[in-house]
């Protein structure tokens, strides 16, 4: 028989205001096995924990029930407290009387009654609890970073600097991500390339970092400390070892019709190309959909001109398989497609562009060499209208409900840079709110308004029509309460940002969760912002939510610290709540093996009784994650899950239905 102590937390007034804690404590004493009960204002506090520890020691408790907040919050706290005074941590159970009782019910009578029932269920469970010992598993001292933008690069450099091997897997031919396309960065206006490209080179030349570019992670198996990833390396049709990145092939390529992704499709590139001058790795890549050789079998001009003999039309897809201890997701973002937002006429008018396109138009390495020219007639625009919140903060299905966070600041940057370089240009900005929380951000925005004379108009744009080359912008000015019509030469849309389309498949592959907007969910929104709920998977950058470069870098470094903390351990403690088979009942039918998502179950021949050799299920405890699928599948009831045994759950059912 267990000797159980029941501890009821007031949680200040969070619980005590709706639940009569004294009555719960009193009721507990009538439950089988309960020898002690107590209530206290803050059970999770130092003194609350001491109360539990003392009771365990003085009363010789063999089981503990804490009626408090969600076990997702403090189960670990109380288990640790129990462990510190010699009680097996898995003899502690939590009855959730805050989130599931006091916070959702108003009637004291009803809430107290429910709290008593939940306490009773927890006591019934603890009566059947058994001491569990956690096993150990080894940690592979290598990290995988998925995505090679600024977030992935920063995370990789920090992990590598701590002395661990890192692989960056980037799906594009070069690392650098969105930041490499930017011209200048707010609020300091330093050039993006000048601060990013040295980091790209640092990553490439770091002895602990391997960049696997033009590749995608195909599948991931395993668990924290011991993941196995299959990485698919797409063929470049260029031998990486031989290519020097001289660019002669790209010059000679006669196919000139492909849109240049780096310049947002505003100019063209050859079928063989180097993404941009500072690409890392600086290697050519052939786009087989555009290459004349691939389409007709004739050409091969690049091959003939390559002095390094690097062109290889027969290159095949490669699979790299590697083991990792930790995985960092840094899959980044894209501006949304504007086809659904008809009112701005983005798809009909060449002179309605996105902010990222404007970045390229202003960049010295861009399609116009850094001279701001309208895409339609290559004339200098004299009146420019910026529209904020395009697709952000909207309620229509084509809109995103959230704020994209970076647009207010980059629009202030753009307008300021344009006014600085072309003082004869008039600049209007339509906005819903200007959001500038951040160090030196509001000062920056005010400079745009006060010093550079940018016209900020509070209101939204309803329609943009093309009238003989002029873009007539119909908007509203909410402060003046009037309609505004501006004949603009160029319209720049601050398109909302959304997670990269690969986010969903990556999340599924890693069993990490994403929210309704496809942003990765953190383990705790406040206290564990860089970890995913899946152990060993960490989040870096915009894949977790919209953020600017400084925030991305900060989060990237934070994720790196978490990874380093994990990799610095030689062994990890496993979850002891795993499946186990009763060999006397097992008939070796293989049902459980088929449903196990982790391949944790195998079959061994064992002497279950003297002279009775039988094929029985064997659970690899280091691999089992404790889902319990096998327990229900087992036709003979041999399989059970420690910590959530059939008997324990039945006892809870009984206690609730009593």
């Amino acid at each position: 028989m267990q000797k159980i102590g029941v501890f009821i937390c007031w949680c200040g007034s969070n619980i005590a205001a709706t639940v009569d804690v004294k009555r719960v404590a009193e009721a507990a004493l009538h439950e089988p096995g309960v020898v002690y009960s107590a209530d206290y204002q803050y059970m999770c506090s130092e003194s609350g924990q001491t109360l539990i520890k003392n009771a365990i020691k003085e009363k010789g408790l063999t089981g503990v029930v804490v009626c408090s907040c969600s076990p997702r919050m403090h189960e670990a706290t109380f288990r640790k407290a129990a462990e510190s005074c010699g009680l097996n941590p898995y003899m502690v159970e939590i009855a959730n009387i805050r989130e599931h009782v006091s916070w959702i019910h108003k009637d004291i009578e009803e809430a107290t009654e429910k709290a008593v029932i939940l306490m009773r269920a927890a006591v019934a469970k603890v009566n059947l609890n058994q001491s569990l010992t956690a096993g150990k598993s080894d940690v592979v001292k290598r990290a995988l970073v998925i995505g090679g933008g600024i977030a992935g690069i920063q995370t990789a450099i920090d992990i590598a600097d701590a002395g661990y091997e890192v692989d960056i897997v980037e799906k594009k031919p070069t690392i650098g991500g969105k930041m490499s396309q930017l011209d200048k960065t707010f609020p300091t206006l330093d050039c993006a390339a000048c601060i990013l490209t040295p980091k790209m080179v640092e990553a490439a030349s770091h002895e602990k970092i391997r960049i696997i570019s033009y590749s995608e992670v195909e599948s991931v198996s395993g668990f924290v400390g011991n993941f196995t990833a299959r990485i698919k390396k797409k063929p470049r049709y260029v031998n990486e070892a031989l290519c020097t990145g001289c660019g002669i092939c790209a010059e000679k390529c006669p196919s000139r019709k492909s849109k240049n992704e780096f310049n947002e499709g505003m100019d063209t590139r050859g079928a063989v190309y180097i993404p941009f001058a500072q690409a890392v790795p600086k290697l050519a890549v052939i786009d087989p959909t555009a290459c004349i050789k691939f389409k007709t079998g004739k050409c091969g001009l690049c091959e003939r001109n390559c002095t390094a003999k690097a062109i290889d039309f027969n290159q095949k897809e490669q699979i790299i398989e590697e083991k990792y201890g930790a995985i960092v997701v840094a899959t980044g973002f894209n501006p949304i497609k504007l086809d659904g937002l008809e009112e701005y006429g983005y798809s009909q008018n060449a002179d309605v562009i996105t902010s990222l396109e404007l970045e390229r138009l202003m960049n010295a390495a861009g399609p116009t060499g850094g001279v701001l020219l309208r895409p339609s007639d290559r004339q200098h625009p004299h009146k420019i209208v910026f529209v904020q919140c395009v697709g952000s903060r909207g309620l229509r299905p084509c809109d995103k409900p959230y704020c994209s966070k970076i647009c207010c600041m980059y629009t202030a940057k753009h307008s300021m840079l344009i006014r600085e370089k072309y003082p004869d240009t008039e600049v209007y900005v339509f906005y819903i709110d200007v959001r500038t929380p951040g160090k030196n951000f509001d000062e920056f925005y005010r400079r745009a308004v006060e010093q550079y004379g940018v016209h900020y108009v509070k209101g939204q744009v309803g329609k943009i029509v093309n009238d003989g080359g002029k873009l007539i912008v119909h908007g509203s000015d909410l402060l003046m309460n009037e309609q505004v019509i501006i004949d603009a030469d160029l319209v720049v849309l601050a398109a909302a940002i959304e997670p990269d389309p690969t986010a969903k498949s990556v999340a599924t592959m890693l069993t990490a969760s994403i929210d309704t907007n496809n942003f990765f969910t953190e383990a705790h929104p406040k206290l564990r912002p860089v970890e995913s709920p899946t152990a060993g998977v960490f989040l870096s950058g915009v894949c977790q939510g919209p953020k600017d470069i400084p925030e991305t870098v900060a989060q990237a470094s934070a994720a790196a610290v978490k990874v380093v903390g994990l990799l610095s351990k030689d062994q990890l403690t496993c979850n002891p709540c795993v499946a186990g088979s009763n060999e006397l009942l097992c008939n070796g039918c293989s049902s459980c093996e088929k449903v196990c998502p982790y391949g944790a179950i195998s079959y061994i021949t064992k002497e279950v009784r003297r002279g009775d050799f039988r094929r029985v299920a064997f659970v690899n405890e280091a691999v089992c994650q404790g889902c319990g699928a096998c327990t229900v599948t087992c036709p003979s009831g041999a399989m059970d899950l420690k910590g959530f045994t059939n008997k324990q759950i039945m006892a809870e059912v009984d206690a609730i239905c009593k």
């Binding site: 989130e99 009803e110 709920p533 998502p597 319990g628 327990t631 229900v632 059912v653």
Partner: protein, 151 residues
Amino acid sequence: MQVENKEFKPTIVAFCCNWCSYAGADLAGTGRMQYPANVKIIRVPCSCRVNPTFILRAFQRGADGVIMCGCHPGDCHYTSGNYYARRRMTMLFDFLDYLGIEKGRTRVEWVSAAEGARFASVMNEFVKNVTELGPNKRITDLRCKMEKEGE
């Protein structure tokens, strides 16, 4: 009869998976979203841990409705657990219906960790449905009832 129905408060057992639905229930709590106190939640690691015998036991012991909540299809923390659960429950609920436990007393719902409001609304609706169906008498074990009354 009407009076009896008004006073009738069904006993409802909710099995919630640890990763999505239990967290969703926590979020309903954090958001102070009300749902009836009749709903009592049992935490399981995954919806695939819910053995049909647990549900039978609940009805046998006098539960008036049982609801099982898991992660949305495709989002299972254990990759595929909720698919197993879905199949099992489809079969079980058909079987229970045959035994006279109406479909309205049994339910499978997918509630993610971000759907506190959905958790509350699902529970409100389910409790309402079960209340309308009245007490479950079909497979209640009379011995349990006698025990209860004996107390």
